[in-house]
Symmetry: C2
Subunit: 223 residues, 2 copies
């Protein structure tokens, strides 16, 4: 049964706002930094201050999933990290396949941050004969036709899509057919995939636009 609001007739579980889930990732990241600084516990107010949220919000966010805090003390970092990972489903390794090994794809292969959070890029595929067979950061690029085989053999459920916009729809279709059910989409195009497949969009130009707007507004604000 889903944790998120589904209005499934008789679902009386507490409904978790979608925004809570993205904050969980943020809390997790911050807690991992705290642990590295040998901080054993943290209060909702301190954690909130660092991230720019209210203490009440921090407490409520965690309360959706159980009682993790200790009155008078706060939250134990190690314990909370474990709980958040369990909630997100990242308390295990997720095998990931990269689709598209151009400029961006190659950089993603070299990005160490994925592994740290429990994602393991097990294969990379492309259509371009110029990159197929080449090796990047220890992975040899395979032809996209081998995707289904890779997915089955390595039990992959998530793909990173890093192809040009023009190729995005076709690539997404192949990904869906291969049996994958999650796509992290770097291509600047809206994918049309079945409901059974989740997607998360990362459009770098869009992010810059949001920043531009924000800067633009800030300037106006200084009346």
């Amino acid at each position: 049964m889903s944790i998120l609001s589904q209005n499934s007739e008789d679902d009386k579980e507490p409904v978790v706002p979608k925004a809570v889930i993205s904050r969980l990732s943020l809390y997790l990241r911050e807690l991992q930094h705290l642990i590295r600084d040998d901080q054993q516990t943290i209060s909702s107010s301190k954690l909130g201050r660092v991230l720019g949220f209210t203490a009440a919000q921090v407490r409520k966010d965690f309360a959706y999933f159980g009682q993790f805090g200790y009155p008078g003390i706060g939250y134990r970092c190690e314990e909370l990290i474990g709980q958040i990972k369990k909630i997100l489903g990242t308390d295990r390794i997720w095998p990931v396949v990269l689709v598209g090994c151009g400029n961006m794809g190659q950089a993603l292969l070299g990005y160490r941050g994925f592994e740290k959070q429990g994602f393991h890029v097990v294969a990379a595929v492309d259509v371009d004969p110029k990159v197929i067979g080449k090796q990047f950061h220890g992975l040899t690029v395979a032809h996209i036709d081998t995707l289904s085989t890779i997915v089955i053999q390595q039990n992959v459920s998530v793909a990173i899509l890093a192809v040009p916009a023009k190729a995005a729809h076709e690539a997404a279709e192949l990904i869906v057919k291969s049996g994958i059910n999650g796509i992290l989409n770097f291509a600047p195009a809206t994918l049309n995939v079945p409901k059974t497949v989740s997607t998360v969009e990362v459009d770098l130009a869009m992010e810059l636009e949001q920043l531009a707007f924000s800067v633009y507004q800030n300037q106006d604000d200084s009346n």
Copy 2:
């Protein structure tokens, strides 16, 4: 005066939800695709269907900024693109500086998508002597100490930060000192910058976590 809710005592302008702004970028992208397919006009319902929003939401989003539609016809794509760019502030070229020319930074230098949306990367800086002086995609990497000069000479107001997490705070401080007022942050760390500086976070591992959760939930849903 800001378009966004600021509760400035006597501000009686319509208050624009923050979420509207991110949808504007999405609309813009889609409209640009429509133009490429020679589509002159589009209705709120069709535009909504493609992007997964209701028709009412699409109409309301635009209505915050004026009356752009034509009853019985819909919205004229070209015209709407112009309006959205004006709202976002991307109806002009934004000079951008890249801070951090490692794996990720180099890929961002090669990313053509920025230019298409009105962003021009005019300079790249780093601290590592191994990359300083090298040329990537037509730009020679300069020392980060030259940042202030670059910012002033090229009138830069936005930086892309692509350094390792450990270096993020220090780099952010230098960026702020240089007079920049917007940071697109790829480093997996929460920046602590003055209110006058806007930031947008893109944490690739966090995005994958969100996807993992979503996939994980979807599986549960198929009771």
